[in-house]
Amino acid sequence: MSTLSSASSALAARPRPRRGDLPTPLEYARTTWMKLVFLASFVFLYFPIITLVAFSFNDSRRNITWKGFTLDYYEKAFNNDHLHEAFVNSMIVAGCSTLVSTVLGAMLGIALYRFRFPFKGAIDGWIHLPIVIPEICMGVAMLAFFHLVNIPLGLFTITASHIAFTIPFVAVVVRARMGGFDESLEEVSEDLGANRWQTFWNVTFPYLRPGVIAGALLAFTLSIDDFVITFFTSGPGSTTFPIKIYSMVRFSVTPEVNAASTILIVLTLGLTIAAMAVQSRTGRRERVR
């Protein structure tokens, strides 16, 4: 983002192209064929999602033609006890896993940024593994593990797995935030008589807070969104929201599924935008300072 804004300020000095001008050879974005590329790509990217959301309001069970606006399917989704229970389960899992993974992930991010230690490269790679390995491999591994140690599948197993795969994401975000920290502030604090504990809570942590909040929002989003790992670690009676939607999809395609999906889309989109707002707002405030 910062490179983008610096590039834009450098280019602001150039004369602005006017509407009537022909595009210069490298202004691909102003050519007709590129506008067609943009249009086609955006139709491809958005048509499925927008129709899915739109037809959750359609007053017809046969999804294809528009019969009028209704909120019936939302009412049905809200009154569906199984869906309700699945939503509550998702919130419990996401809440608990976010709490743990934010604390552990933030500490890990700080440790990785701060300390020099042997095998750091190897440990660094190992910690990023949950991000890069295919989800299905992690899912079946968790299933085999919980079976081996005799832990019955349920909310605990889902939560434990979610904590494991969200820790690296939190660590990455917090570590990136740590990168802009001026360590001399800590020295000043210690020179002025604060001990290390006080210095951490009063100097380092307040600086890190936006990174920690963004990491927590990311972890929460990843947790309520997860399907594959949850699919393998959930048992009877511990259905989460995406798992419930999946079983509804397998059963039949109805506007009720669209309504439930729309709720999830709105939820995750809202959380992601909140996370971005936290990061960009603090970024701007610091630039002003």
Partner: protein
Amino acid sequence: MDWKTNKLPFGIFLLPASTWLVIFFTVPLAVIWVYSFAERGPQGQIYLAISFENYGRALEWIHLGIIWKSVWMAAVATLAALLIGFPLALGIAFAPPAFKSPLLLIVILPFWTNLLIRTYAWIAVLRSRGFVNGGLAWIHDRFDDLFTALGLPDLLGRFTPLELLYNKTAVIIGLTYIGLPFLVLPLYATLEKLDRRYLEASLDLGAGQWRTLISVTVPLALPGVVSGVLLVFIISLGNFLVADLLGGTDSYMIGNLIAQEFGASRDWPFGAALSFLVMYTTFAILWVRAAVAARSKGTGV
């Protein structure tokens, strides 16, 4: 800070997360790694052993067919994503600065909706009474009206919906859709940094836009292309949800096979071996990706 001079804070910060990841990530992976060499009992029990039989079974004709098909579908989806993604990334990279961030955001936004929902959304588009077939039927009917008015009724016959869902095409469309943002981002990053003087020089020296694109832009953007292509390929290869929802009997992928071995078939050692084959492939591809990135950095391109 060196860990030796600060052992206590180092331990406090590093150990909790590492312990969690060892117990709930590394040990589970080790468990299925050990299982992949084990033998399956008649009721699905697991007898620990050191046998390569499970890996050997992956090379049996029936399984090799599924593996080959997965690789093929993932490759086609990756190619399709590249063909859509390259022009898109080029357009965004060369757009006026004020438009770049919004355009990128538009591309990434669908990536934030749930994977399951993104895949489910395609069912309504592709099924026989879906939007594509609905649109085609509408066009068909208009032509039918036209021909009837011209005194040629029944020229086109009845509209038969295209079979778009529950086959390989549907799976490839689904994988392309999921992979596209992962391709556009690295491509954009490369094209944005690219030294435009090379392109200007090529155009000045008389090469046309196509020639410049193929002989200058694409070679310069190659590290980004390689990085994006490999990423989308591994994401597609390990996917099981898309084939599960959009695929039919002809489009079973390796992910579905793994899920089946851990589910209904209850042959965990074989499932574990397959899962590790996917993982080794992933590691190999990530290694190639890192090597390409290191080399392109070294040559200063």
